[in-house]
C-alpha cells in the first residue's frame, strides 16, 4: 500500500474530539481505497482545493436512487479514489440497531467498499463512503438479502427519518417510529425510482421540540401535538420551585403569557397556550399534555438554493396519525400529484406553492383556509377574487339583509 505523508491531516489527530482522520487512517490500514482517500484529502488540504468531478449516474439495477456517483480528477495519482461512489442504506426508524446487525453491515462493506462510513448522513441514511461501480450490484445483493435496502437520492422521495419518539421520550404525541416505517414502506417506488421534479423529504417529529429538525429540512414536516389541557402536578411544581425560579424561567418565558405562579400554585390558561413545549420540557415531572393527540403538517422547508431557505409552513393544523395512516398517505399522494402537475424541473414543493399561490395548492388538496396557517394576513390590496367568491359574499349579504344580522 502507498504510504502518504500527511502532515496537515496528522495535526487533526491531536486534540480531545474524536478524529475523523484517525478513522480514515484506521480504515486505510486495511483498505487501499481508504488509504488513497487519505492521500487525496491531504492533497486537498495542502492545495486548498477539492478534486472530485461532477457526479455521474451510477446505481443498481431497477433503482434510480440510493447511490451517489463520484470520480476524482486525480484518479491516476490516487487510483483508490478514481471511483469513489457512496451508497445510502436506509436506516431503521430512530437509528436503533443491535450490534449484531451493525457488524453484519460492516462485514459486507469491508468486502466491497472502502470500509469508511458516515453514521449517519444528514438526511438520515447510513452512508457507505466510497466504492467502485462494479461493486454496486454484489453489494446490493448482499445487503438486500439480509434485509437492508437503499435510501433515496436524486429526484425521488428521500429517505424519511424520525425522532426517537415513543421509543424513549415522554413527549411523543404519536408513534414517530412506526409512522416513519410504514410511510417508507408505502412509498418504496417513489423512494427508489426518481420520478419527481426534484427531491422530496419527509421527517417525523413527536413534538414541537422537533429533535429531527423537520421544520427546517423536510418538504413534509410532521410534528406531533395535542388538543387538550396541560395537566399540572402541583406537588411536583413545589419540588421544582426548590431548584429553579419558576417565574423567571417558566412563567416569564411563556410566549403567550398564559401562565401564572404565585409561589404556591402554577396556573395555565390552556385556551391561550400555543403548545410551545417550553414549560413542559423544563418541568417534565409536573406538566403533561392531555387530550387528543395528532400532528400538525407543515410543508416546504429546504436549503437556500434558489431564492433563500424556507421553513415549513403550516398546511394541516391537525390530523390524527394512527396506523395504517390512510389519511396521511392519501394526503402525501395528493400533494405530490399537484406538485407533479405544476413543478418546473428542480423545483421543490415549497417553491411551487410559493409560485402558484397557497390557494391553488390548498384547493387542489382540499384543505380549507384557516388562520392557523398564517403568521399574519396579507398586507397588500392586490387581492384575487373568483366570480364564485363574489357570488358567495353577495349571497351572504342577501342572507344578512333577511336576518338583520351581519356575519363578517
Amino acid at each position: 500500500m502507498k504510504k502518504y505523508n500527511t502532515p496537515l491531516l496528522d495535526d487533526l489527530e491531536k486534540g480531545p474530539w474524536p478524529s475523523f482522520v484517525t478513522e480514515m487512517k484506521k480504515a486505510g490500514k486495511k483498505n487501499e481505497m481508504a488509504n488513497d482517500a487519505v492521500g487525496h484529502l491531504e492533497k486537498c488540504y495542502s492545495t486548498k482545493k477539492g478534486y472530485w468531478k461532477h457526479g455521474g449516474i451510477v446505481g443498481v439495477l431497477g433503482y434510480g436512487g440510493g447511490v451517489i456517483g463520484r470520480y476524482s480528477e486525480l484518479g491516476e495519482e490516487f487510483p483508490g479514489v478514481a471511483h469513489f461512489h457512496t451508497v445510502r442504506l436506509n436506516q431503521p426508524s430512530g437509528w436503533f440497531y443491535t450490534s449484531k446487525v451493525l457488524r453484519e453491515i460492516c462485514d459486507i462493506w469491508d468486502k466491497y467498499g472502502s470500509g469508511l462510513t458516515n453514521v449517519h448522513g444528514s438526511t438520515g441514511d447510513l452512508v457507505l463512503l466510497g466504492c467502485r461501480t462494479e461493486a454496486l450490484e454484489p453489494l446490493f445483493a448482499e445487503y438486500s438479502s439480509r434485509g437492508w435496502d437503499l435510501g433515496g437520492s436524486g429526484s425521488d422521495m428521500r429517505t424519511p427519518s424520525c425522532c426517537v419518539g415513543p421509543g424513549r421520550c415522554e413527549w411523543a404525541n404519536y408513534n414517530t417510529l412506526e409512522a416513519c416505517y410504514q410511510i417508507t414502506q408505502e412509498f418504496q417506488d417513489e423512494l427508489h425510482r426518481p420520478m419527481f421534479a426534484y427531491k422530496s423529504k419527509i421527517k417525523f417529529a413527536g413534538c414541537a421540540c422537533d429533535c429531527v429538525a423537520s421544520a427546517a429540512r423536510a418538504d413534509f414536516s410532521v410534528i406531533g401535538t395535542w388538543k387538550g389541557d396541560i395537566k399540572i402536578d402541583q406537588k411536583e411544581v413545589k419540588n421544582y420551585a426548590n431548584k429553579m425560579d419558576i417565574n423567571a424561567e417558566i412563567v416569564d418565558m411563556c410566549p403567550t403569557k398564559c401562565m401564572s405562579y404565585n409561589g404556591k400554585e402554577l396556573k395555565i390558561n390552556n385556551s391561550e397556550c400555543n403548545r410551545c413545549m417550553h414549560c413542559i420540557t423544563r418541568m417534565t415531572k409536573a406538566l403533561r399534555p392531555s387530550g387528543e393527540r395528532g400532528v400538525t403538517i407543515c410543508m416546504g422547508s429546504k436549503a437556500p438554493i434558489v431564492v433563500g431557505s424556507l421553513l415549513s409552513w403550516v398546511i394541516v393544523p391537525f390530523m390524527k396519525m394512527e396506523p395504517p395512516y390512510t389519511e396521511f398517505k392519501a394526503f402525501v399522494r395528493k400533494c405530490w400529484e399537484w406538485w407533479d402537475d405544476n413543478a418546473k424541473p428542480r423545483e421543490r414543493i415549497g417553491e411551487v406553492i410559493e409560485a402558484k399561490g397557497m390557494r391553488s395548492f390548498l384547493e387542489a388538496i382540499g384543505v380549507p383556509p384557516q388562520p392557523q396557517q398564517i403568521r399574519e394576513p396579507r398586507k397588500d390590496p392586490f387581492i384575487f377574487y373568483t366570480d364564485e367568491d363574489i357570488a358567495r359574499f353577495k349571497a351572504k349579504e342577501a342572507e344578512e339583509k333577511k336576518t338583520g344580522k351581519y356575519k363578517f
Binding site: R359, Q372, I374, P377, R378, F382, E397
Partner: protein
C-alpha cells in the same frame, strides 16, 4: 380689474407670522401638556406660560363659508390664531384660560363636534372618492361620514385602550394612510378590466401599458394591435386603466371595499406596522355602507373589550395571535387573507405553535 403681478417660486409663507404670541415666546420651550377633556388640552412652557388647544372635527371638504365661520370663532376666542392637524381637524389656539370654556360652549351651541385628543378615534385620513378622482371605486367622504356618525362617541367622549387611527382609500393607490392604520377601508375592483381594442392603438402606448401591470398580466395581442390580459394573473389593481383610457375597469356591481387592520406609524413600544386584510369584500352600498360601518364598529368594540391599556390594535392582535383575532371577532377567514403576492413566504406560519 387688472390682475396683480404673479410671482413664482416664493414657496409657502413663513409660519412664524401665524404663530400666536405665546408660541412665539415659548417656541421650543414646552415643558409638558395635560389633556383636559377629549376636546381640549393645555401645554405648559418652561416659563410657566400656557397654551390651550381646543380641537374640532372637520369634514375636510369645507366650503369657504364654513372656513369663514371658523375664522370668526378664532377671532372671537384666539385673536385669530388657529391651525389644522395632520388629520385635518381644526385646532383653536387659546392664550387666555378664561376664553376656553366660552369657546367650548359656543362650539357646543353651534353643534360642532369637539374631541379627538388622547386615546380616542380621531378624524379619518381619507381620499377623494367619487367627489374628485377618476380612479375611485367608492366614495371616501361618504364612508367616513357614515363610519364617524356611528363612532363619534369615541371622538367626543369614550376612551379606548389607545388611539385608533382610521383611514379610507378609494382605490388601491391608497393615497393617505390605509397601509399603516389601526383599521382602514380600501376600495377594490374585483373583475378584470375590459379593453376597447379599437381605441387602443391611438390612445395608448403598448410598452407603458404592459409595464404598468404589477403582476405582468398584460401581453401584446398582435392580431388586434392591442393587448390581452391573463385572467389568472390580473388582480384588478387598475394600473393599466390609469395609463390607458380605452381600458375600463369600473363595475358598479362588483366594485366594493375591503377592511384591513393592525397598522401603525408611531414607534412606541413596537415598530411601525402594515395593516393586514381581514374582510376581503363588502359590496358598495351608498349612501351609508351599513355593513362596512357595522364591521368597523364591531372590530373597535372587540378591541376595546380585549386589549390592554396602551395597546394599539396591531399590538393587541400580535399579542393574542391572528387566529385568536379571527375567533374573537367571528370574522370568516378566507383565501383572500392568505398572502399570494411577493411576500407570501414571510407571512405563512412556520411553527406548530398556534392557538386552537
Amino acid at each position: 380689474m387688472a390682475l396683480p403681478q404673479r410671482k413664482t417660486d416664493i414657496g409657502p409663507p413663513h409660519y412664524k407670522q401665524f404663530l400666536p404670541p405665546v408660541i412665539q415666546k415659548n417656541y421650543g420651550d414646552w415643558k409638558y401638556h395635560e389633556v383636559l377633556t377629549p376636546g381640549s388640552m393645555v401645554h405648559v412652557a418652561e416659563s410657566g406660560d400656557k397654551l390651550w388647544t381646543v380641537r374640532m372635527a372637520s369634514p375636510r371638504i369645507l366650503s369657504t363659508d364654513t372656513i369663514r365661520e371658523i375664522c370668526a370663532l378664532a377671532e372671537k376666542y384666539c385673536d385669530g390664531y388657529l391651525r389644522f392637524t395632520s388629520r385635518n381637524n381644526v385646532e383653536f389656539l387659546v392664550s387666555d384660560e378664561k376664553k376656553v370654556a366660552p369657546l367650548m360652549k359656543e362650539l357646543k351651541d353651534q353643534k360642532r363636534t369637539v374631541g379627538g385628543i388622547g386615546p380616542m378615534i380621531s378624524n379619518v385620513v381619507h381620499t377623494q372618492g367619487w367627489v374628485h378622482c377618476h380612479s375611485a371605486c367608492t366614495d371616501a367622504s361618504g364612508l367616513v361620514k357614515s363610519m364617524m356618525d356611528e363612532l363619534h362617541d369615541y371622538f367626543t367622549t369614550k376612551e379606548l385602550p389607545n388611539k385608533v387611527r382610521l383611514a379610507v382609500a378609494c382605490c388601491v393607490n391608497m393615497c393617505g394612510a390605509v397601509h399603516c392604520s389601526d383599521i382602514a377601508i380600501v376600495a377594490v375592483h374585483t373583475k378584470m378590466p375590459e379593453i376597447n381594442h379599437d381605441n387602443f392603438k391611438n390612445m395608448c402606448e403598448m410598452p407603458t401599458v404592459i409595464g404598468a401591470c404589477p403582476t405582468r398580466a398584460i401581453s401584446p395581442d398582435p392580431a388586434k394591435k392591442s393587448v390581452k390580459i391573463n385572467p389568472d394573473k390580473c388582480m384588478y389593481c387598475g394600473n393599466c386603466f390609469t395609463v390607458c383610457p380605452p381600458i375600463s375597469i369600473k363595475n358598479p356591481e362588483r366594485d366594493g371595499v375591503a377592511i384591513v387592520v393592525g397598522g401603525k406609524v408611531s414607534s412606541l413600544r413596537s415598530n411601525p406596522k402594515f395593516s393586514k386584510l381581514v374582510i376581503p369584500y363588502i359590496s358598495n352600498e351608498p349612501p351609508r355602507w351599513p355593513k362596512v360601518v357595522a364591521a368597523v364598529k364591531h372590530i373597535v368594540d372587540v378591541y376595546a373589550k380585549n386589549a390592554k391599556k396602551h395597546e394599539r390594535v396591531g399590538e393587541w392582535i400580535e399579542r393574542i395571535g391572528w387566529e385568536r383575532f379571527f375567533s374573537l371577532t367571528g370574522i370568516d377567514f378566507t383565501f383572500q387573507s392568505i398572502d399570494d403576492f411577493t411576500f407570501m413566504r414571510d407571512t405563512m406560519r412556520t411553527a406548530s405553535t398556534f392557538k386552537w
